[in-house]
Symmetry: C2
Subunit: 682 residues, 2 copies
Amino acid sequence: MSTDPLVVFTPSGKRGRFPAGTPVLTAARRLGVDLDSVCGGRGICSKCQVAPAYGAFPKHGVTVAEDALSPWNAVEERYDSKRGLKPGRRLGCQAQILRDVVIDVPPESQVHRQVVRKSAAVRAIEMDPATRLHLVEVAEPDMHEPSGDFERLAAALEAQWGIAGVTCDLSLLARLQPALRKGGWQVTVAVHSPHRGAAPRVLEIWPGLHEGGLYGLAIDVGSTTIAAHLTDLDTGEVRASSGIMNPQIRFGEDLMSRVSYAMMNPGGEAEMTAAVREAIDTLATEIAAEAAIDPGLIVETVFVCNPVMHHLLLGIDPVELGQAPFALATSESLELEARDLGLGAINPRARAYVLPCIAGHVGADAAAVALSEEPWNSSDLALIVDVGTNAEILLGDTSRVLACSSPTGPAFEGAQISAGQRAAPGAIEAVRIDPETKEPRFRVIGCALWSDEEGFAEAVGPGGVTGICGSGIIEAVAELRMAGLMDASGLIGSAEQTGSPRCVPEGRTHAYLLHDATAEGGPRITVTQGDIRAIQLAKSALYAGARLLMDQRGVDRVDRVVLAGAFGAHISPLHAMVLGMIPDVPLDKVTSAGNAAGTGARIALLNRGARAEIERRVREIVKVETAIEPRFQEHFVAANAIPHATAAFPELARVAPLPRVAFNAGSGTEDEGGRRRRRRRA
Amino acid sequence: MSTDPLVVFTPSGKRGRFPAGTPVLTAARRLGVDLDSVCGGRGICSKCQVAPAYGAFPKHGVTVAEDALSPWNAVEERYDSKRGLKPGRRLGCQAQILRDVVIDVPPESQVHRQVVRKSAAVRAIEMDPATRLHLVEVAEPDMHEPSGDFERLAAALEAQWGIAGVTCDLSLLARLQPALRKGGWQVTVAVHSPHRGAAPRVLEIWPGLHEGGLYGLAIDVGSTTIAAHLTDLDTGEVRASSGIMNPQIRFGEDLMSRVSYAMMNPGGEAEMTAAVREAIDTLATEIAAEAAIDPGLIVETVFVCNPVMHHLLLGIDPVELGQAPFALATSESLELEARDLGLGAINPRARAYVLPCIAGHVGADAAAVALSEEPWNSSDLALIVDVGTNAEILLGDTSRVLACSSPTGPAFEGAQISAGQRAAPGAIEAVRIDPETKEPRFRVIGCALWSDEEGFAEAVGPGGVTGICGSGIIEAVAELRMAGLMDASGLIGSAEQTGSPRCVPEGRTHAYLLHDATAEGGPRITVTQGDIRAIQLAKSALYAGARLLMDQRGVDRVDRVVLAGAFGAHISPLHAMVLGMIPDVPLDKVTSAGNAAGTGARIALLNRGARAEIERRVREIVKVETAIEPRFQEHFVAANAIPHATAAFPELARVAPLPRVAFNAGSGTEDEGGRRRRRRRA
């Protein structure tokens, strides 16, 4: 009696012996090898493609003969002639194991394939979406054993795919019978299997094999913009990314003014809910059109947002979030029908998953940042800052993670700045001031040239320079400090004190003239003392929040800083540190995570386990409420100086020693510390 | 050391010793005594009222002293002064056990109290509704331990009522925060705990103690009428019963014409769905108004209906039910949102439970009849017939239950009858024909007098006699047979043959003149040969269906017959048996179950266990499809004679020997058996 042939799967290394004639897919399933199949082995979906390897494999102790697998059969011939199989590929459900063989499962044939993320610092996303396609053969009705078509579909899903106890929506039930008959009792169903609790449910049905794909939307509902990634639920590929303004801006620029609107205007919260839902629906329509995808194929949505947006999206009055104790109506994650959030453009049975909120001021967006950055897996102590109108701050490592939010206000987004504007073409986004000449140069959004480079005016175009955006004002203020035009207390010196005619009087203070286009009918852009005060308030709040977490953790330094948020991606680490926005760390330890909230939403969209994980992690995170911590105010005041009144910034001092200047009336040119020492002596 | 006092609860007989000072409610809960409480022992709901008994109870071995319970406390005083406690009653949560005591739990204080049904033959309904009220004290929000208000409500429900993992609808989430604050963190919630699978969910919330009750609707969606019972979910009391015409009638009188309408008219099924849903919504509004109840307090609905109505209610095209193999889209029970069935008038979060269908022709209405009549608990073999446009037939006992439906057509409802009309005032509902004089008398709906009694004309009123309804035509045909005016084949004799001038020629046949009001401008009501043929077709179908089940069961007699349906309640057992509608049984073994489908719906409304039971029983019932059984046709033909061509009706012969007459051209006055014998001899 001969031994059964041996099959070795790569890359998993799983191996086993099977009777000659066993299909590769069958062997893979028995061994728990991650080999995909939508059609369940009927030779039509091609998801189970494998690459047999021939020759000697001493590593596996196998030599694979040319006839190790059965010859191509009619099903493979037909598939190849119709759609083409890549060279060297076989259909795993058709090719039978005849002799010892090594079978490679290419990445695209793995169920739990990984999606590579841009940032190499973090793990890839493993594909495990809640909704998957399955082809089933449903038993025909039998008058002698009457049962419903749905009950026979459910039985087939259990028998053929091990998915027990499915439910379905009335709207799908109404479409079930024609689909079954049109497909000759063979249908593809999209089955949503939630990561916890509830029963799996059939979301969509197609006669025969559905090959049009399945999509999901990861949606970040920000106070200012709503951004969405349209993502392939099979490959994880982002097919389109798009954004739309949050129309709630007409009810109030920032969160608290929207809460006030709801308080002052009966029904105001409903108006804002309707506005944001309509915008999301529009965005869904537009993004599907952009990717040329049938919106009906969008069956999953994931939402991340700050607590006020969270409540307004859900149709809950945010009034409690405007006052202590900042009670959320609900803090845990939500599994909903997308249509209950007003999404009418996508599949009518699409699901919505809303990430949990961490606390009344630390929302599902912060949870998404955490899911993306995984501070709980960090071996060094990481400070993660999502900079926006509110800054959400996470501090932690494998031992413990803390979170708080800090009311930075909108200055970092260019609001409350005299020449401030949103990040849009024409806005100054980067500034440099020559420490010798005190002359500025800058770059604007939409133009690669610096303002002192040749052809700048033509490159900027007829719109010209229009204002200054968040990253621009941060750089401007930091450069003023580095050039000795502004002292540690934030005072701009006079032309006389600084020796620069760009320091112009403005009332009883001075401003720095960055750009003057009045001769051409354009704007005169200055950095005023008021602008600097606004930035100081914002950066003090940010630093104080971080410092509060460090206190709670019992440390006075962190190992690294991650700047998250679209804005975080544009902040120069050096300038941020000169301003004292973040604690002192080596400059190369300040990284940008890009749109981490959006990435977190995409992870939750593609991996059910990530949903369970963030729900668990959020419960474990230590929440710190800045509003009731007396030390917050103390930290805030001390952080007002640039970079800081008391904390040493040794790393900063190493790369950018700051001039010791002081422009206070009657003071000399000593630094802030000098003044304090003097006061103490007095 | 003295022994703890003994408490004995009646009627349960449960007993135990508890430390002096234990509240009666606490003792009851520990012993598993069925004592209600909504407020959880806060002395405000009064649901836990008990009646302590004093004196000697040799049966229990206890003598109860006057001071066995603690004196009235302030809570009881306040409750009594505000709302009044019945004499001898105490609040179980306030009265403490000090010495041995006997405590009676009155029926209204039992959670699982029983609702007595009118028919004494069947068990009472035990109260165990899916939705119950609970008063909870919710923890206030705490900035140091941030969590959502809903999560704290859920925790309170688990801690205070043992209800874990509740969910809630977005629409309720939006109302949660104001309710909690208005109630000072004490709220009453209506919690729906499904009988299987899904998580419990909060359907409604009220600040403080809600005392307005909670209601459900048991709805029987018939082809012709939709009937509803508005029922108190606490007491089981029917607060109002009402009906409305099924507006689908405009698309087709009977089921198959509605299926045809859907087949012939694209979108026709959607029109019919909209029509029936709108009517149900109207009915819900009307019935709540009739009972003077806030429709928002209606939180549960239960639906029973035949398969075509079932599909049209659910929004499913019934086309598959119009042709073999009569495949249902879904056969099992459904747990839905009532709003998904278009119910907008009641609580927006009200639930809908749709009973399972038995087969493509045997619907949720038949399941409800089974739930009401419980053939599986019958020690003798019961035939249960729900007479309508289709007859649903159940045959069974404790060993096995079989079911089929039979296409009787609408004749039993007065349709297809020359003078037929719906059961309404003015319709002849009972007929007697004197066997000697061959003269008729009758009674009409809305008038207690017989037509030969003095004052009949005045009592009937100006509307006069308008036609003949289902029960009237059955009695008329049976009476014709008993009076010797019609032979076993269904032929009416001529005036000459019968000696009655009321047998008038009509074409080539004869009719019997029941009532002639043409002189007063009224109708001339006859029973025509065509009418008799229609009744014969209907009764043959009914009998053949019953007979088929008897064949399957291997019997040729049953022990008892139950006539269900509103119409069944009006059929005289004697006349039904003369017609041969039902198999021969002793007349006292023919009973009416009244509106058993409605009763079954009410049982499912009030008792979760009944939902689980009917789901299980429906799977066990042996389904017989009349359309594919060749013997059905055979039985149908044989059942055409009145009462039957071949089956003996010995019980009928004992109480009402039928005259041997034959009016076939050329035949004598022999009975059907005689003629057959003669043919055989020929």
